[in-house]
């Protein structure tokens, strides 16, 4: 009899896992994807939607036809609760889901599973900062819909500048514990490039606002690159890029409140300041999806399965310890939870601690970037988890694959202007993502594999990746040959 694998979420980690499960498992096994949104969003390209260079339909496509074609069972629903031991009236493990599709909205169903992958990604926690978010006073590029709103507001601001009205743009982090600095970095340099392209750059004041201790931290504690005969910190690389483009910056900042046209910040030094803006693209901090867990007798075991942040606890070392005692080995390798048939992949797993040095302001506010879990590690983790599950279905007692962020590298191409001849992008490779100071005592990373360069070639790679990854996500011919 076949097994049933349920994947919660259809983002980069969930969709990658489901795709490979379907490819590697025979048809006697069932793969079910549960996801509240029926469109796949290639999120890295939302940046270009947010500056008006792409339409939403160029970064989105409907998943149901793809899943139907390849034989993945799709439920447009959100997961509500996990019952890893079953329930009094149900002997096998199951997950409660609630439909979000128009025809079944609000209907609930129990979906039994043999293996479960939680790849629910982040909840965009705009509520963490009063006034933050597209339904309040700032814009975002976290979803394609948000990016479309952002592009519309940008058009309006450009019109004002054309009429001679100077505009202030603020781009960055909307809270002291945000992650995804790379996305804000990409947006601000693309915004600057686009304003130049539209002939209004001289009318714009552009400022980057971040919770990073130094520019170039990116939630990874920064990195070091070999350049021009020196080992250079990413701070130098990023500051140079901003200064060259006339972009100002404010670092070490927590956004405490936003009002129309005004952002209130607290800095690590304890200062309170106010920044004016006409358009602010500020990213929210992330939380785990609102999922509960229950034991067989109905006891709430949410706190056992999930960290307070809402992310799922996996095979990491979650013991609280000071920064000096953090180790690469703290990071999860197999993403298996305490229940052997439940895994978490991508942003949904709980990191053991940040990567950047934790810092608290003199007033006690935590101003520390959360660790990034971007596309490449998310997809790599999703694929590794899928392989482990396939092997366990075929008889392996334990997960067979590892994909620790302290043992894998990442390649990141950050667009810095989208034009096939005059555009550029920062191409960065880093190995490993989480520094390992036991293995690489000086910088925590292997400098033979950690590299950064700005140029047009990076932009070509960015365009290539956009098309390749959408081709892969659509599961078109030879999709599985495209690397993560």
């Amino acid at each position: 009899m076949g097994s049933r694998v349920v994947v919660l979420g259809s983002g980069i980690a969930g969709h990658t896992a489901a795709s490979f499960l379907r490819k590697w498992l025979g048809k006697e096994h069932q793969v079910i994807v549960v996801s509240p949104k029926s469109d796949y969003n290639w999120i890295p390209s939302n940046i270009w939607v947010g500056v008006g260079l792409l339409r939403a339909d160029q970064v989105l496509f409907p998943l149901p036809p793809v899943y139907k074609r390849v034989g993945i069972d799709y439920r447009q629903a959100k997961a509500v609760a996990i019952h890893p031991e079953g329930a009094a009236d149900e002997p096998s493990a199951f997950v409660d889901i609630e439909y979000t599709s128009a025809d079944k909205a609000g209907q609930r169903e129990r979906v039994a599973y043999d293996f479960l992958i939680n790849a629910t990604g982040p909840k965009l926690n705009f509520d963490a900062t009063p006034g933050l978010g597209p339904d309040k006073f700032t814009v975002s590029v976290c979803t394609a819909e948000h990016a479309v709103q952002t592009a519309a507001l940008l058009d309006e601001k450009v019109e004002r500048m054309r009429k001679g009205e100077r505009q202030k743009f603020l781009v960055g982090m909307g809270h002291g514990t945000c992650t995804c600095q790379g996305a804000a970095f990409e947006y601000i340099v693309n915004l600057e490039f686009e304003l130049r392209h539209r002939g209004v750059r001289e009318m714009a004041d552009i400022t980057y606002l971040s919770n990073e201790y130094e520019l170039g931290d990116f939630g990874m504690g920064g990195l070091h690159l070999r350049q021009g005969g020196y080992v250079t910190p990413s701070k130098i690389f990023t500051e140079s890029l901003f200064a060259e483009r006339g972009i100002d910056w404010v670092t070490r900042a927590h956004v405490s409140k936003i009002e129309p046209g005004r952002v209130f910040i607290e800095t690590l030094a304890g200062e309170e300041k106010e920044l004016a803006f006409d358009m602010a693209m500020l990213l929210p901090p992330f939380r785990g999806a609102a999922l509960s867990a229950f034991a067989k007798d109905g006891t709430d075991i949410t706190a056992r399965l999930f960290a307070p942040s809402g992310f799922m606890k996996v095979d990491a070392d979650y013991a609280a310890k000071p920064y000096e005692q953090w180790r690469a080995a703290d990071w999860p390798r197999t993403y298996q939870t305490e229940f052997k048939n439940v895994f978490a992949a991508g942003i949904a797993f709980a990191p053991p601690h940040p990567i950047s040095v934790p810092r608290v302001s003199s007033k006690g506010t935590n101003i520390t970037p959360a660790p990034p879990r971007t596309g490449m590690p998310s997809a790599t983790i999703g694929k590794a988890v899928a392989r482990s599950i396939v092997d366990m279905i075929h008889g392996a007692k334990e997960p067979t694959q590892t994909a620790s962020m302290a043992e894998m590298g990442a390649a990141c191409v950050a667009s810095a202007g989208a034009n096939p001849f005059t555009g550029t992008a920062a191409s960065i490779t880093v190995f490993p993502i989480v520094p390992d100071f036991e293995k690489y005592p000086e910088y925590g990373r292997d400098l033979n594999h950690t590299f950064g360069e700005i140029g047009l070639a990076g932009h070509w790679i960015k365009i290539l990746l956009h098309h390749l990854f959408l081709h892969k996500a659509r599961m078109r011919p030879l999709w599985s040959l495209i690397p993560e």
Binding site: E214, D248, R252, G409, A410, A411, A457, I461
Partner: protein, 59 residues
Amino acid sequence: MTTPKTVTPLGRDEHWLTVTKPTAMTRFLRTFLLWQLVRFVVLNLKMLRIIAMGHHPKR
């Protein structure tokens, strides 16, 4: 800003003076087609190498 703001005689914040900026040659090479074709190949190879180091059979 991470340091107290001071202003240069031309009115720019001091931190504009304390950062590394690319030379004209560096800027030229960033969009010089022949050089960028070479870099395109090199960057792809570097990224493929990182990808190959992604996940492993459990040891």
